[in-house]
Subunit: 394 residues, 2 copies
Amino acid sequence: MQSFTPPHRVLMGPGPSDVSPRVLAALARPTIGHLDPAFQALMEDIKAALQRLFNAPDHACIPLPAPGTAGMEAAMMNLLEPGDRAVVAVNGAFGGRMADMAGRAGATVVTVDHAWGQPVDPAKVEAALAEAPTKVLAFVHAETSTGVRSDAATLCGLARKHGALSVVDCVTSLGGIAVDAAAWDADILYSGTQKCLSAPPGLAPIAIGKRAQAAIAGRKEKVRNWLLDFNLIMAYWGGPDGRGGGGRTYHHTAPINALYGLHESLVVLFEEGLQAATVRHARMHEALAAGLEAAGLELLVDPKWRLPQLNTVLIPDGVDEAAVRTHVLNTWDLEIGAGLGPLKGKVWRIGLMGASATPWHVRLCLTALCEALAAQGVTASASDALAAVDGALV
Amino acid sequence: MQSFTPPHRVLMGPGPSDVSPRVLAALARPTIGHLDPAFQALMEDIKAALQRLFNAPDHACIPLPAPGTAGMEAAMMNLLEPGDRAVVAVNGAFGGRMADMAGRAGATVVTVDHAWGQPVDPAKVEAALAEAPTKVLAFVHAETSTGVRSDAATLCGLARKHGALSVVDCVTSLGGIAVDAAAWDADILYSGTQKCLSAPPGLAPIAIGKRAQAAIAGRKEKVRNWLLDFNLIMAYWGGPDGRGGGGRTYHHTAPINALYGLHESLVVLFEEGLQAATVRHARMHEALAAGLEAAGLELLVDPKWRLPQLNTVLIPDGVDEAAVRTHVLNTWDLEIGAGLGPLKGKVWRIGLMGASATPWHVRLCLTALCEALAAQGVTASASDALAAVDGALV
């Protein structure tokens, strides 16, 4: 068994995204104990930064000690129990996962199904909410499997109107497009670290609002999950109001070094400015879209609902899509993503997330993609694509 | 918000332990994608190393993407469902936690209670197993809250005799004292990375045997946990036999950099040799015990059941134990642990785990402790203690 030296890749798939040297260096700082006063100060700092990031000043905000999916699981397991009804909008892989988890929590699950590539339809959701009293409405703000944004403000408003709590998957949206817990009046939002925050995968920032906290307090049955039990984990992070002051109760041992990385990624993000980062994602998407169009490629999603940070590119007829991905990986050390589920073999997924949303990345990706297509006899001009990028970035 | 620079501590509490510069450096290597061929090779390497570490050649061995407690939760949630009976031996904080989780999984839970500081009593456990058909017998091999080892071979044998599956908490034992899945014929064993493996906290190595896999396959109800569902997570790690070859199915996004760290910690451990590491832990414990005795301090646990890696030291009458911990932290940057539950205020917990099990650590700890006691007017001779250490290490 020998030490592992990873290749140096350029990460433009659906996540993880490129992690900056600053964040990597933070990971390697000396480990301290989770009860150390210095670590407790770090925890407070992270909580405050996540409140700012979600714009959730009244939510309890912490990073759960597991990948982004743990945020989904925490939301479902804490809010739902047998006898509850959950309405889950499904317009891609992650909506389907939410429905699965809601069932494991013991709820009666009603899915509102959509074609992959479409945003969630508020009218269909409202029809499902109107059918019966509903505890939770869950949906994905930014579907990583399709590259589609849904209208979180409208959907959270429908949940409120029908007395349901809203659960919003922001795994791919947070840090890339506007996420606004306060304006949406959303009850639970969660994300991952490996998308637009550009920290390594492994943590799930979550924001839990007052109504959700009250619902958890009123449960009849214990949460079917010890590690993600909101009351236990918030006591560890300094009290249920999410703001410390109440001391800490031992729960798990926090993933110290991973939290160093998340913290540094938040420092980097706030140095740039949240608004500036959002604008950067939008601009890089425009540049990529212009380049793809100039190269003769099309995007799956209607412009109105496109995610700047996750671009689903239709595979031209006759192209061996896996060979293209292998080519760009082997020749350019560039990772792009394949399609999932019904989009398998039909799209590539090109991420422009966090540190991977730069003109350099856009240009490299188009160059590599055009080269790989040319190798299959498909005409795709890299010089036209790069000229279009330059035009878009003026 | 500013970058976080942790203090440089010497970690001799109940975990995390000191992380070596080699492991810290591994954490900071460039992040790659979880579908990257290079990463898949790393996954295979880690699986094989964990099989060797648990001595579990026929178990599926993976690191779960969450802290050590996730191993406990995975064992309970995958094996148990409503209608099942679980017998849980409780002789400290972690046995109690197992019982809580087994209840959340829907099982009828029978606890076999012991005084804290005592090993699990096989006769009491057998009496509980004989009362009714039992699905799972769960116990803690090395109780971090008390410093007690229990007889895993005998307890696993009782489980077999009574048709129950054995779940063995090896969080603090793995890498510090012998853990032997094959010899014990144990069904599920799990651990954490931040104890005797000396990687940062955040991952839970787990070994799941064939009988446990069959029991999971025969469940009536879905596992009440999506992230830790054995079948989903093993498909991601290359198939239910734990040996790859069957391709991989997307589940979560693995915590890439944390896995770099675990991998390097395993390289370090195997370079030293597992047997050599075990001997080192035993010798450092003997040295510490000799030094404590020379300083007039006593250990809680009967010598037969003491864990070398977790020493519970009785607090002398009249000593302000929190002031001692504060003194050694502030003056020596040394972290030692407080007592938990009924042992709160009665013991300190001194860890000699992994990279923290060296003569340097033993000498530093005794020096700091004697100084702190002297500051409270308690006679405790550091020179006598260090002479005793030297004698024990000859």
